[in-house]
Amino acid sequence: MAVMSYIDAINLALHEEMERDENVFVLGEDVGVKGGVFLATKGLYDKFGENRVIDTPLAESAIVGVGIGAAMYGTRPVAEIQFVDFILPAVNQIVSEAAKTRYRSNNDWSVPMTIRAPYGGGVHGALYHSQSLEGLFSGTPGLKIVMPSTPYDAKGLLKAAIRDNDPVLFLEHKRAYRLIKGEVPEEDYTLPIGKAEVKRQGEDVTVITYGLAVHFAIEAADKLEKEGITTHILDLRTVYPLDQQAIIDAASKTGKVLLVTEDNKEGSVIGEVAAIIGEHCLFELDAPIARLAGPDVPSMPYAPPMEKFFMINPDKIEKAIRELAEY
C-alpha cells in the first residue's frame, strides 16, 4: 500500500470516481486550470477537460444551486467550496433545497451531490479561513456530513459520498491536507457513511472526536499510555446523522468521556453527542461528561498568540484526559 497525504488521497478518489462514472463532474472556483487553491483537484482538468471540470464564476449559491439542478438531471456533481467559511451564501440552496428535495417531492426527485470544503484552523487563516461550520448544518435532515481524519478514510468516504444518492457535505481539514499521511490502497474501496470507528482501544477514558483532533487525541493518548492511562478513541467520521450506537458503546466502555471539537463549544456537534450519552447511558458514567472545544468567540484570530490560545492541541487534550482519569 502506498503512503500518501490526506490531500493526495482526496485527489486520488476524485480521479478514480471520474474515471469510473462519466456522470461525475467537478465544479467550483479555481478547480480547473489551477487545480484548486489547495490543489485537491489537480490534474482533473487536463485529464477530463473543461466540460467535466468547471471553473465557475465566484458565486457559491450558484455553484450549489446549479449543482443541484445537474444532480436532479441525473449527473453526480462534486462541488468545491473554496473554504467552508464561504459556504454561507449557499446555505439556502443546501438547507432549503438539496436536503429537502427528496422529502418534499415524496421521493420523486433527488440530489446525488457532494459538496467538498476545507475547514479548520491552525494555518494562520484568521477568522474567515479557519472556521468549523459543521454545527450550523448538523440539524438538517436530508443532508449527511462527513469529516474524515485519515487519508484512508478520506478516500473511502469521498468515494462513498460521490456514489451516495443524497447530498453529502464532505469537510476536509485543511491543516491535515499535507500534515497527515497514511496508507491508502490503490484499488477501489468505499467506507460506510454514517459509521463511526474506534481508532484506538483503551480502558480508562473515552475520547470522542473527529477530523484533525483525532490525531491530537492519539498523540495525547500515546503520551498518557506511558503513565499507564489508556485511552479509547472514537472517530465519529460522519457527524450528521450521528452513529448513536457507536457513541453509546464507546461511552459505556470506560464510563469517562471527553468530547473534543475544534469548533466553538456552545452549539457544536459534540453537544449532541453529550445529549445522546445523557439519554442512553447516563448510568454507565463515572464522571461528568467533559468537553474540550474552542472558546465561544467568533473564530480564531490571525495573530499567532491568539490563534494558539483558541486552537485545541495535544497538550490540552492530554490535560483533559488526565483530569478525567484521575476523577
Binding site: 456522470n23 463532474f25 466540460n51 467535466r52 468547471i54 465557475t56 464564476p57 458565486a59 449559491s61 450558484a62 450549489v64 444551486g65 446549479v66 449543482g67 443541484i68 439542478g69 445537474a70 444532480a71 436532479m72 438531471y73 441525473g74 449527473t75 456533481p77 451564501p89 439556502n92 440552496q93 432549503s96 433545497e97 429537502k100 428535495t101 427528496r102 422529502y103 418534499r104 417531492s105 415524496n106 421521493n107 420523486d108 426527485w109 433527488s110 435532515p141 436530508g142 449527511k144 462513498a160 451516495d164 444518492n165 443524497d166 460506510p192 457513511i193 454514517g194 446523522p241
Partner: protein, 333 residues
Amino acid sequence: MVTRHQKLGLDDTTVLKMYETMLLARRIDERMWLLNRSGKIPFVVSCQGQEAAQVGAAFALDREKDYIGAYYRDLALVLAFGMTSREVMLNVFAKSEDPSSGGRQMPGHYGQKKNRILTHSSPVTTQVAHAVGITLGARMKGDSAISLVTFGEGSSNQGDFHEAANFAGVQKLPVIFFCENNKYAISVPTSKQLACEKVSDRAIGYGMYGKTVDGNDPLSVYEAVKYAADRGRKGEGPSLIEAICYRLTPHSSDDDDTTYRTKDEVSEAKKKDGVLTFAAYLREANILTEDIEAALEEKIKHLVDDATDYADAAPFAEPESTLQYVYDEKGEI
C-alpha cells in the same frame, strides 16, 4: 387573410388547445377559491391573470422533452406540461396521491419528474439555479433539452437570480428565464421592487437576449419564448423574457389586497384579462364558435368536478409516513 397565429406557425387546433389550457387553469383556480371559502381547503395561491403568459411560453417549448422550473402561480404552465386536473386537485387537497409532494407541500408547489417539472420549494428564486443545472447536466449527456424557469418580478431581486443568470450566460446554457411580472410582490408594487424600467433590462448584464412582452397575449409570449428557445438550441445561450401580467386575485387566500390597492385598479386590469381577450381573438378568427365554446366549458366543468370529487375522496398519507424519504431508502444509513 393570414392571422397572427398563422404567421407564427400555429394552426387553429393549436391555438384552440392553448385557449383550452388557459380556461382549464382558470376554472380550476376558481374552484380552489370556492373550496377555500367554504372551508374545504386551508390555502390557495392563484394563477389568475397569468394563464396567457404561461400557456404562450409552454407552447413554445418541446413539451415532450424540455424541462420547466415552475413557481407557485404556474397552474396553466404545469397543465400544459402534462399534469392532469386530478393531479392538481390532489395537490390542493394534500392527498397521498398528489404527484408533486404526496401532500407534504402547500398547494401550488408543483413538481413531477415524469413530466420534467422540477420540484420546487417556497423560498423564492432557488429554482432558477436548478433550471440552469438541468441544462448543464443535459449538455454533458448530449441531450439538447432546454429549460424554462419562471419567477415573479419581486423574486428577480434575489441574489439567486443574478448568480444563476450569470452562470448560464458564461456557460451559454439554453435556459429561458421567464419573469411573470404581475406588478406586485404581495403588497409591494414594482416601483418599490425595481429601479429599472423593465426586468428584461437586466439581460445585457449577463450577455443574454432580453425582451419584454404583453403577458395577456399568449401569441406575443409564444413568439418571444420561441425565439429564445431557438437561440438556446442553436447554442446561442440564455434569454430573459418578461411577460407583463397583473395579479387578478389577492396574493393568496391569506391576503387582503384591499389594504394596498384599489378595487378600481383591479377592475381595470380585469378588462385586459388574457382569458377574455384571447377568447375574443379566437372568436374573431372564427375558431372559437359558440358551439365549441359551450362544449369546452362543459368538458372543463366535468373535468374540474371529477378532479374535485376524486381528490376530496382520496385518502391522506398515513401519519407515520412522515418519517419516509428523508434519505434514499434503498441506500445506506
